[in-house]
């Protein structure tokens, strides 16, 4: 189904520069296209909240739209949402796997996997094709995500999650670490709040993230699109208040935007495209 990947040696052309910062940079298997644009990892827990999903999509979106590469791990939850956001912008998305590049795990993310390849992104792994997913390979995968990226944004993470490993490795490699502050009593935010205590940059929103990243990576190469719906999405019922029209009229507008491919809806929330 997915074609054969190619092995890129550490000294080879197109080897991601950041990976050479690792003590033991591995040769990597690449399916699709890598670009030299700086990578920004958007990662988090699989056990996330809808709030986390919304932010991950929004951040994945603005990063890729700004012309940087959105890097994540194709896991459920935050990772998948970050990829989806990036794909929505038609920007560059890279998924780093803990299994062979021909193995889509979890299978439910197959549409994302396919779209990444269709839109000129890349699937990357240090394991040969056919390698099955295994729990112990994921921390090694996280190390690649951290090294490949110029900055790591942790959306939601529990105190013990893999996202924290990525963040700590990134910090050790001198990458910028961003974390989304959350309620102190929410399990899914505990990891992020600890990162903040330990000196990570707090993220105050999509626009704020772009500004902060611009300070590190230089001005974003991409251009901005004007929209009437906020990046993080909005409740349809809120739009009725915001626009001061009936729910039926809101639905007509939302449906029209959707049909025109300019908005996307999930449940009772609508997101810009």
């Amino acid at each position: 189904m997915s074609g054969e990947d190619r092995l890129v040696e550490v000294s080879g052309d197109g080897y991601p520069v950041g990976l050479r910062d690792l003590e033991d940079p591995p040769p990597i298997h690449v399916l699709g296209q890598l670009t030299p644009s700086p990578g920004v990892a958007v990662v988090g827990t699989r056990r996330c909240t809808r709030y986390g999903i919304d932010l991950a999509e929004s951040f994945g979106h603005v990063v890729a739209r700004s012309g940087w590469t959105t890097v994540s791990g194709l896991a459920r939850g935050i990772d998948a949402a970050a990829h989806r956001g990036a794909l929505r912008s038609e920007g560059h998305a890279v998924a780093v796997l803990g299994c062979g590049t021909d193995v889509c795990y979890p299978r439910e993310n197959r549409p994302i996997y396919d779209r990444i390849l269709d839109t000129g992104g890349a699937i990357v792994s240090e394991y040969p094709q056919g390698t099955p997913p295994a729990r112990w390979r994921f921390p090694a995968r996280n190390r690649l995500i951290a090294a490949m990226s110029a900055a790591v944004v942790v959306i939601e993470a529990s105190r013990t999650g893999g996202a924290l490993i990525t963040a700590r490795l990134a910090a050790e490699l001198g990458r910028e670490v961003f974390a989304v502050p959350g309620d102190v009593d929410r399990e899914a935010s505990e990891g992020c709040n600890r990162l903040l205590r330990d000196g990570a940059h707090p993220v105050l929103g999509a626009e704020d993230l772009v500004e902060e990243l611009a300070l590190i990576l230089g001005p974003p190469p991409g251009t901005r699109v004007v929209r009437s719906i906020p990046d993080g999405g909005v409740d349809i019922e809120e739009l009725a208040q915001l626009w001061n029209i009936s729910i039926s009229e809101v639905l007509v507008k939302v449906g029209t935007l959707e049909l025109a491919g300019r908005a996307r809806r999930r449940g009772g929330r609508v997101y810009p495209v």
């Binding site: 699989r46 729910i247 449906g255 049909l259 809806r265 449940g267 009772g268």
Partner: protein
Amino acid sequence: MYAAAMSVALVGGVARAVEVEVHVGRQQESFKLSGLPDTAVREAKDRVRAAISSAGMDFPNRAVTVNLAPANIPKAGTDYDLPIAIGVLSASASIPHASGAIITGELALDGKVRSTSSTLGAGVLSAQMDLACVVAKGAAPDAAAVPGARVFGVNTLAEAVDLFRHGLEATPEPPTRANPSSPHRSPDMCDVKGQLLARRALEIAAAGGHHLLFHGPPGGGKTMLARRFASLLPPLTESEAVEVALIHSAADVVRGVLPDRPFRAPHHTASRVALVGGGSGIPVPGEASLAHRGVLFLDEMAEFPRGNLDTLRQPMEDRVVVIARKAMTVRFPAAFQLLAATNPCPCGFHGDPRKPCTCRTAAVDRYRRRLSGPLIDRVDLVVEVGRVSAGQFSATSSEPSVDIRNRVIGAKEFGRARTDQIANAARDAIGAALESGMITARGAVRIRRVARTIADLASEPVVDEEHVAEAMALRNEW
């Protein structure tokens, strides 16, 4: 000596006339009962004998043969006590022949007449056949609620005997009017704060007869909304009300002849028989038929065993439940509207903006899969109900049910009168969404249907782009 009395049997929610033939022969004393009687009917013999003697009359000490015709309808219960007693008394020439009335009632040993589940059926037959009916006094108002029924209520066998001796000359029961403060009245939509999306979905579902599924975290008000749905539906017509009441009486559920639409909410532990009907002996209607012309509400739908849910497919398709038995096939009408509510996952917080879901992913998938397949394919509207924010909670009062119901009635009337047309642009919009993979082929059919209803609500004969757009915005693939 021969005499016949008329009685009634409920078969598949329809009242059928039963003739109680009694023959009193010259032979030695005996009592024979034929015509598919069940145990309770067989035991009528002893009650009838005691009641006749308590009424101060003589039970013939000769060969009494009772036949319940037509013999192919199974008869159950104590409903035939009174007609058998009257038949025996007229066959033994104690009273005139009594074939001009539908008679039903259980006899107590002291001659008192108790009400039976076929009281309403007697009223229905009375109206249909233009005959009088004789039922227990206590239940007479039930039968008198049927328009056109001529009902006589009796307290005792002696009173019934008197009635026939005087050729049914007494004054019949006055017709019963539905009590406007019936306990079946649905709660009102004005109690629901916010939830604009769900309210709109309910209105469309009511206007178009669409099945509807609410999903969302616990505490969002799914159940509260669903329980108010019946209040958005137009009232039952008189004949519908009789039909519905008759089905209820076949299941021994007391419900008068009321204009309120039935609202049935079986618990998820309900058995298949409880859901679609059946049972040992004479098949009784299940929840699907009790919800006929009303609402079948499945709360926590994913908690229902899959096999039990699947039994609802046939009634949803055919609007009738068919129970096939060796001896006969019974059909119960089941034209219900399905309303369902479910959590998105076992813990209830999958997709919640604030609270993480604590379920394992496999468990979430399994939970959702329970609702997939043929049943959910017939549900046109799948709407997420989020939790109400504090702002919405303090919002000013919401629109009451009566206003919504008036729009629903208007849309239904409009829908009956117009021919279905769709603008080219609207058709193209659905086609484009289908092509881009935004919706599936089934989804397109659903959107088409819902758009039609939205147009009806706006009194527009032609479905246009805006109607399709709104239907798009309401769609929600489960």
